[in-house]
Amino acid sequence: MPKPPRTIEAKKKLLIQKHFPWDSPGFPPKPNSAEAAVLERAVEQWLEQQTLPFGAAALTLAARIHPILREVEALVSPSRLLARFDCSSHVKSPPSILEKMVRRWAPDGRGLPAPALGFRNFRQDISDLGRIRIVANFLRDAESIRAALEEPYDVSAAHRLTAAQKRLRDEYSLRENHLDDSINLDPGERQKGERSLKGLFRPQGLHKSLIVELQVMTLFQEAWDKKDHCLNYVRRRRGEIVKLQHQSEIFALSELLYHTDLTFDRLLDEIAYGRGRRPRRKPAARHLRGGD
């Protein structure tokens, strides 16, 4: 029996070779060439096509959120940057999808057993095929945005929703009606350095199978995330070993930047909103008023 593949690349080849359902309904015909690169390109093209609706869902969600951000901005930071959208990776790339499929797959040399995440179920089981990110200036801005995005899904707040919030609620559902908070996590529960607010949105009706992950994070948290991505995440994903000490340092930097965010929030409170006041940790979107 052939040896089990060790690297991510070898696993990807084996996955495509053994588990891509060529010529099945909804799948492309097998290319004439059996060359691995040709097959991989054909699979990537197919994945690209499959993820188009997720990208469209992410963009249309951004279009619905955009006016809400402007409303929050007008209320809490009319004279400074509140946040910016980042849609530069609004669709998960085919190589990332393939990597996700093989990451926890431990096949033997014949490619058995079949992966838990495969070509027939990845659309349902990967939650960030479509994704958008909002990068907030201050920590308190991230929380204001969170409040404004959760409010449409709070029945008790229905009477005070703005027209933009109502449109968001009418067109998209938010899983569990709130954004998951990995910023203010109990230190005992924290396993990784990433700090963000994450919500899973789904279009209502016809396209409800499409999931879009929305992340809200601060500029510092985004900066940390980008560095962690290349120094730590990508390497580990490839199966490379990142020294424990380096991992610890990267993790500690996340804590440090969290502290920096808190400090800037306190300074903002003291300088811009009145010296000595304690920072308000939960600025609510209840200030948003209006209606159709």
């Binding site: 096509q49 188009l52 609706p53 990208g55 469209a56 869902a57 992410a58 963009l59 249309t60 969600l61 951004a62 279009a63 619905r64 955009h66 910016r84 959208f85 980042d86 849609c87 530069s88 609004h90 958008i132 449109r167 067109e171 998209y172 279009p203 209502q204 009706g205 016809l206 396209h207 499409l210």
Partner: protein, 497 residues
Amino acid sequence: MRWRDETLPTGRLLAHFASDDRSRNRSLLFLVTGAADIEPLTKIEEVCQAVISELRLTEFEWHAVPDQGLLTSIDPNLAPAKVTRLEVAELGELTMEELDELLRPVLPRIALGEPELFPSAGGAVGAPAEGIQLLGRERELAEIAHRVDEGQSMLLVAPRRSGKTSVLRCLENQLRDRYRTAYLDLERFLSPEDLASRLWVLASGERIRVAQQRAASAWRPLFSDALRLLAGGDPSRPLLLLLDELVFFLRNLVPAEKKSGDRRQPVLDFLRDLSDLCLGADARVVIAGSLELTEYLEYELGLERDDLPPMLRSLVHFPLPPPTFRSGQLEMRRVLLGTGLVVDPLELEWLVANADLASPFAALRFLDQLAARARMGGALSIGELEAELDSFLSTTEAFQDSVQRLVDKARRLPGAKAALEEALDGLAAAPEESGLTAEAFREPLSRSRPAEADRLLTWLIENFPIRREGDQIAFASRLFRRWWRRQLADDGQEAVQ
């Protein structure tokens, strides 16, 4: 119907950056508003990707634009002024096949950095339509080019405002590689000296003053030299003369107050010179104009066909029928996209049924009027569109040329006007799609002028937006039909009063 909202912040950008210089770029931004745009945006991307791949277009990039206020954050070289913005909702109802048909010609234009991606109503002010603005003439252009290749010279015959000059200009551009093309709008030239000097400048690049001095002493040799120089002596690339408004020029040759017999000779002399020079240079000639050459020669100057020089005798009569489109809806949609008008399916149906593009000049003028209304804000309901059309038809001069043709014809054939009008009235009263049988349409003509009925029938078909399919005759332009019916109703009211 409403005006496009180009201020929507979010969309998907398809940008083309020249690989050697990213500051040369051209883009299309598909703007989205909400979940209803998911499916159409997905289809648009799929179609564009397929077209890009099939046509082997390169250097295209897709970008997500969350806020078009920050467009340059995608690439500092991106030129916001070279971004054409469309709402995805404008393409929402289209099938993949329709999207393909609509976007396929657009992507190569983006790659070429063309400023216009769709035809628009805004330019319908009477100037010739060029490039993408020329609607529904692909078949005729190909046919004329084919005949020119076969060595024929042609006389284009068509109703006024139906694109003859535009066809000449397009031929000039399309055939430039195979012919030494020269387009001359002869209406601008008041005398043979003027024509000869301008032609010499065109051929030689010499200063106009010098050319005018030479023409003043002897225009014929200069005219002949200019044609020879233009022809260039390269048999593989013959001269193609595109002469617009020849009749205007011929009329300018001699004062109108002179009797036709006195006017005949200078005109014939000029035409003989032109004929000899063109034949000598193996030039092809395509003639067009709002005044019909054969009618002018025959009725105004009393010249018979045999009196004419060889090139004029050999002219192939090429009727330019009203433009036809594979899909009227799709063509209308292209114009709406170019104009910035957003319609729902019912409004599109109404537009195609009432303001079809078979009379492009009038239809584009009407769409321009609608665009002006929509730009002022607010949406137009179908009821309001009806009211706008009514107001347009009561004030437009877009069809006045047709009436003038009728008057001119009546001047040459006394008593024919009533019969011609009766035939048109009958056609306007007939069912829109089926029209009348040729016999029924011909009946007033046969009754009034039996000997000329066939010629008058042909004249009507060639000079009005009328189509003939087998034995059936109908108006090709619904807009013209509606206008004619309105004139009839107005005449009726005046008669009652």
